[in-house]
């Protein structure tokens, strides 16, 4: 069955023009190079935001690269967002998101740090999540010099970055050193068990297919997905105790491969007393926001920014 008739007509052309990922270990370098080229071709809006690369020393001896975006001319303490890019845990870089993040930093008056975490399969779990935690620690420890309000730090990510954001919120809660004010999970890839569950008949036709999901999780876990014993810091949906997590926004599409795991996580957060805002946009498969000018994409962007404003008291 095709789900083409269910897709929002405003996002369909962009989705159909996008080549299927179908990554393998052999094709991964070429895909990464191509994605990198696409990312760097998106123009960065000319806005009063300072952009710099920071290299954060990590306890394992390496440095975590991150891009720091700071709105100019602000003297007051600003809230901050730790941003984590998407790419199925195997591709991507902060540069993909810099154009949108620059506009967010400018519009909201917020400092943003976007992490170039280590990717699988070269670096399976927990390399990526530990890099994100290192970046969160750096943001907290340098809050005074950065002019950041430590009580207003959010974590945000899309797709695999949303999964990492959710896991980071769990890790931060459990380690108890760096509090988070908010988690923004945009179509988060958060449950490896989706790979072994009965297929949702309306999801996974465009851009990101079940095969891609299986490959991404296999690389991250360095094992077959869906087996017992996977850490919630790798797949946040594995966590059974969700109390004590920060207020949450989950946004996803009704045709997103992750809609089942996203709605389930939202339900369990609500039942744990967490303040959850959930938006499921009709007619939207994973990655629909590549149709950036479509009304639904604009609306989703507004919903995200409005949620950040409320959560960070902007």
């Amino acid at each position: 069955m095709t789900t083409r008739h269910l897709v929002d007509p405003a996002v369909l052309p962009a989705l159909e023009a996008f080549p299927p990922l179908r990554a393998t270990r052999e094709s991964l370098p070429a895909i990464r190079a191509a994605m990198d080229g696409i990312a760097r071709s998106i123009p960065v809006p000319s806005l009063p935001v300072d952009t710099q690369t920071v290299l954060i020393p990590a306890s394992e001896g390496h440095h975590v690269r991150a891009i720091l975006l700071r709105p100019q001319g602000r003297t007051e303490l600003l809230p901050a967002i730790l941003h984590i890019h998407g790419g199925a845990y195997i591709i991507g870089a902060p540069e993909m998101s810099v154009p949108e993040l620059t506009a967010t930093a400018d519009q909201l008056g917020v400092t943003i740090l976007s992490v170039d975490y280590r990717l699988a399969p070269e670096h399976p779990f927990p390399a990526g999540i530990e890099d994100c935690y290192t970046a969160l620690g750096w943001l907290h420890d340098h809050a005074a010099t950065l002019g950041v309000d430590r009580s207003r730090i959010a974590v945000m990510g899309e797709s695999a970055g949303g999964g990492l954001a959710a896991s980071l919120a769990l890790l931060a809660r459990d380690r108890g050193v760096y509090p988070l004010a908010f988690q923004l999970l945009d179509a988060p890839m958060m449950d490896d068990r989706t790979c072994v569950r009965p297929r949702n008949p309306v999801t996974g036709e465009f851009i990101f297919a079940p095969e891609d999901n299986h490959f991404g999780w296999s690389c991250l876990l360095d094992a077959e997905p869906g087996a017992p014993g996977v850490s919630p810091y790798a797949a946040a949906a594995r966590e059974t105790e969700l109390a004590g997590l920060p207020p949450t926004l989950i946004a996803t599409g009704a045709l997103d491969l992750f809609v089942d795991e996203n709605v389930d996580y939202a339900m369990r957060l609500i039942a744990a007393g967490v303040a959850v805002e959930l938006h499921v946009y009709p007619g939207c498969p994973h990655g629909y926001v590549i149709a950036a000018d479509a009304p639904v994409s604009q609306r989703a962007l507004q919903d995200k920014r409005n949620a950040l404003r409320r959560a960070l008291a902007i």
Partner: protein
Amino acid sequence: MTTRHLVDPALLPLIDSFPPMVLSDQTLPLIRAALPAMVKAVPLPDLPVAVSDVMVAADGGQRSVRCMMLRPAAMAANAPAILHMHGGGHVLGMPEMNAGQLMQWADALGCLILSVDYRLAPETRFPGALEDCYAALGWLHDEADRLGIDRTRIAVSGESAGGALAAGLALYARDRGEFAICFQHLEQPRLDDRTATSADPNPYTGEFVWTRESSHYCWIAQLGKEPGGDGTSPYAAPSRATDLTRLSRAFIGVGTLDLFVDECLDYAHRLIRSGVPTELHVYPGCMHGFGMARESVPARRAQADNLAAFRSAFAL
């Protein structure tokens, strides 16, 4: 445990002023008696929308169902229409409760709205109310040319028990195959009688405005028996339907502290898996009936989502 700390601060005045109301055979007549004066006390917006009563024939002309009709002065030819069902647990309420909001919808959308004064329980048990609403749906279809509305753009809408009727009507209309519905707009709908008897209730829902006890009372009033057992009709409790395919596109909006949040998410999820175009919004810190705080930020957001969804469904 109280969930007050989870309430959006903008809604605290609402819960503090809302009378602690547990529905029972003793309180129901009192609340019903007080309602018309409460409704009249709310001023209506000054909008160019004509409000009138129409009587719709039911049961082959043996009786009639009163409906409130709203018609914007600037209604285009072949306009869309909304069949609206008010809330009130099936035991309370009248179309006039929502007159102000429906006038705003009619004005903003340029559409005709018919809100049904369906028969209430316990005097009239299921399926009486649904039959009244179905008669009103049939009337809209039959009179479409005279009313100047587009038969292919008739939506059903309701909040709370009215959302149950709207969802039930979408199922019933699909199964009967007589009258098309283009969109089901469900605000905090009450969909599942099993919530009232759940052995493992969500500890964060149902403290304010609409409680598990009131809901339990209303299900008994509507069904004439204990809820949660075998054989509840899906037209009364849409969550009981096992086949959700071929339903009209859907919108569900609900708050995290609403007694109905779990059944709403579950129903939305099942609609999605059944190939029904579905939009879902969950509002943090919002309890059942938060829309009553009409000028609050969360209520205004929900209203914006409502209007955007109607515009999309009506291709406006």
